[in-house]
């Protein structure tokens, strides 16, 4: 039996196919565009064949490729079958989706045990594995919302959200400009810069450090987001008040992290600098700031998400006629949930891009750090 390779996901997928047979057809009898029995047969064949092939002792590449093709072709056929028949899916439909998802899981397991010899291959693997996971979240979301006919007011399917994004790019762009390119960016820059400057001051004067650090640690646990209504009262409805909230939220993480980072340089290195008779500023710029860079980037990364949150939440306390928080709250009131989700998707993408840019700069600046040299980051 050495050519046989057991996997519980494959086993379960075949079992699900057997379970689905008595529960046929896929769609209710009164469906407008019924799925032909030929297509149904193809879906069964795809799942069973992919599962069966994964039991053979094939090479990992081949096994992953079969599983990938089987799971996604079956998933695509199932999703395509639902169009025009929203809310008509029967139990067998969901059982088959589950079977295809199990195959995708098996595929991910095979892929994650693979080790490529080339860097490009490893890089592809690192992207492919989470991508499959994400795609299946969308497939299941789509299948459940459209298959079971969930109302658009409760949870729109990903395809409707995608269509909404494509149709309202100008509005989305105005909101992104108002919230992210103005409030978030300006607030982030001012907040991080002032936190950094105060940290340098605190480092120069020990008394200030001993006094500020406990307070900074304390403040970072407080719900600072609550200052939003006050800032709106002080700075008016436009972006200035949002930027002010962002400044306050990003200041303390930067302060605490930079002060900790400045203490990170080893005693040996500091002594070496002293033997060179270097001044405070030379030691600061040539030794301690580079050593503090990982901590500073940690704060920059934390702040990139905090800044997004601060700006959008502050818009709930009053805004001009644009901005992501404004759009989310008004469209929500009109039950245009697809627009709300479109804003959420845009916010998520913008947040990831923001975080990604900071991470890339970190990689370039702190290339010497073990966590990056080891390639784990």
């Amino acid at each position: 039996m050495r050519s046989f390779h057991f996997s519980w996901q494959g086993m379960l997928a075949i079992l699900f196919c057997l379970l689905a047979i008595p529960a046929l057809p896929l769609l209710a009898a009164d469906a407008a565009a019924p799925v032909s029995s030929g297509t149904t047969f193809v879906i069964f064949i795809l799942i069973v064949a992919a599962a069966a092939l994964s039991f053979m002792r094939l090479s990992a590449d081949l096994s992953a490729a079969t599983l990938f093709f089987g799971a996604h072709a079956a998933g695509w056929l199932l999703i395509a079958g639902i169009s025009g028949n929203e809310g008509k899916a029967q139990a067998s439909f969901f059982i088959l989706i589950a079977a295809a998802w199990l195959l995708a899981w098996r595929c991910v397991s095979v892929l994650s045990s693979m080790r490529s010899h080339s860097t490009a291959g490893n890089y592809t693997l690192r992207l492919l594995i989470p991508a499959i996971f994400g795609i299946w979240i969308l497939i299941i979301w789509e299948a459940v919302t459209r298959g079971a006919g969930v109302s658009l007011v409760l949870l729109p399917p990903p395809s409707a959200i995608g269509a909404r994004i494509a149709n309202s790019i100008p509005t989305l762009w105005i909101d992104v400009r108002q919230t992210i390119l103005t409030a978030v960016l300006i607030g982030y820059i001012i907040g991080c810069a002032s936190g950094f400057v105060v940290a340098i001051l605190a480092d120069r004067f020990a008394f200030l450090r001993r006094g500020l650090l406990p307070i900074g640690n304390f403040v970072s646990a407080l719900p600072i987001i609550g200052v939003a209504p006050i800032m709106v009262m002080w700075f008016g409805f436009d972006w200035q008040s949002k930027a002010a909230v962002v400044v306050i939220m990003t200041f303390f993480p930067m302060l605490v992290n930079t002060v900790t980072g400045l203490a990170a340089a080893g005693n040996m290195e500091r002594d070496l600098m002293r033997t060179y008779a270097s001044s405070y500023w030379q030691t600061l710029f040539k030794l301690r700031l580079p050593a503090a860079a990982p901590f500073i980037f940690n704060a920059l990364k934390i702040n990139s998400t905090l800044a997004m949150i601060g700006a959008i939440v502050a818009e709930f306390f009053g805004t001009p006629m644009s901005g992501m928080g404004f759009r989310i709250s008004t469209e929500n009131g009109r039950l245009n949930l697809d627009m709300v989700w479109a804003e959420i998707a845009v916010a998520a993408i913008a947040g990831s891009v923001f975080y990604g840019i900071v991470a890339i700069i970190e990689r370039m600046v702190t290339f010497w750090h073990p966590s990056i040299r080891g390639g784990q980051a």
């Binding site: 989470p130 200030l208 001993r210 719900p223 009262m233 949150i309 929500n332 916010a347």
Partner: protein, 295 residues
């Protein structure tokens, strides 16, 4: 000796800075409230002396920036002088906020630990789930928290559960990250030692990995409980002026009751400090009972 160090290196600097902040606060309060007061005086045809004028700026009923003593007075009145069941009592509002925070934190911690265990033991989960867990935090969930609450209430689910879910979402992340790090913190030497004892992976998990992860767990729990409080407060925003610290903030912002906003902020901060304090005490007790030395 040690007491003197504490006084000189901790108490003195912190007190100085706190006093400086309060002093600055007074200066700002006087400066920010001055334009409105000047306007009032001009209309009322009064010409107060400088001292009287400053006194007036610090006792406006709806100041731009309330003076510290005004906030303190409001907090004191609404905490100690009101029946704890009254709608205006800060104790009542803090209690309303506390319940979802606690439930959300508990779920978040459990979920975070489960994710971490899965991630440490299953390579597939590590490589497929971990990137999405990190990406999930770039979604400003806090920004859409009010939407989630409204959708839930459209479904007929109200009250504690939706707010607790948002708290859960915010608090699971630090726990997952910290716990994953903690479960992976035993050195290879120790893992090898377990192997020489012929320990099963179950035994290695309970006798080596779990004890090693405890300090990491408590550190992340401190972050998580603060995050879940923020989640609850933001989750309270769309319920209008019903109850809870978030609702107090929103009501204060609607009616320009600045002193009320600041009092609600103070209440939220005290709540956060108490919650983090409780976790720290729990951490110390567990640490001691596990034989940790006092640092």
């Amino acid at each position: 000796m040690e007491k003197e160090q504490f006084f000189k290196h901790k108490f003195l600097p912190v007190t100085t800075i706190v006093l400086a902040i309060i002093l600055l606060w007074y200066v700002f309060a006087a400066a920010l409230n001055a334009p409105f007061q000047r306007d009032l005086d001009r209309r009322g045809n009064v010409t107060p002396t400088a001292l009287e004028f400053i006194g007036k700026t610090l006792s406006q009923p709806k100041p731009t920036l309330p003076a510290p003593h005004q906030v303190a007075q409001n907090v004191f009145e609404n905490t100690f002088l009101r029946v704890p069941t009254s709608n205006r009592s800060l104790v009542y509002n803090a209690w309303i906020t506390l319940a979802p925070t606690a439930v959300g934190f508990a779920f978040g911690t459990i979920l975070g630990v489960l994710f971490a265990v899965g991630i440490v033991h299953l390579v597939a989960l590590d490589r497929s789930l971990m990137p999405w867990i990190i990406a999930s935090q770039t979604i400003p969930i806090l920004a859409i928290a009010p939407t989630i609450i409204v959708v839930f209430s459209a479904l007929g689910i109200d009250g504690l559960i939706p707010k607790a879910l948002i708290s859960t979402y915010l608090s699971f992340f630090p726990v997952t990250v910290g716990m994953t790090k903690g479960l992976r913190s035993p050195e290879i030497m120790h893992l090898d030692l377990m192997r020489t004892y012929n320990a099963s992976s179950w035994q290695t998990f309970w006798k080596l990995r779990v004890p090693a992860s405890v300090p990491f767990l408590f550190t992340s729990m401190k972050v998580a409980i603060a995050a879940s409080l923020v989640g609850t407060i933001v989750g309270e925003l769309p319920t209008g002026a019903v109850a809870g610290i978030g609702a107090k903030l929103l009501a204060g912002s609607y009616y320009s009751q600045t002193i009320d906003i600041w009092a609600a902020l103070v209440a939220g901060s005290v709540l956060a400090a108490v919650l983090v304090g409780i976790v720290s005490i729990a951490a110390r007790i567990v640490d001691r009972s596990m034989g940790g030395r006092t640092a």
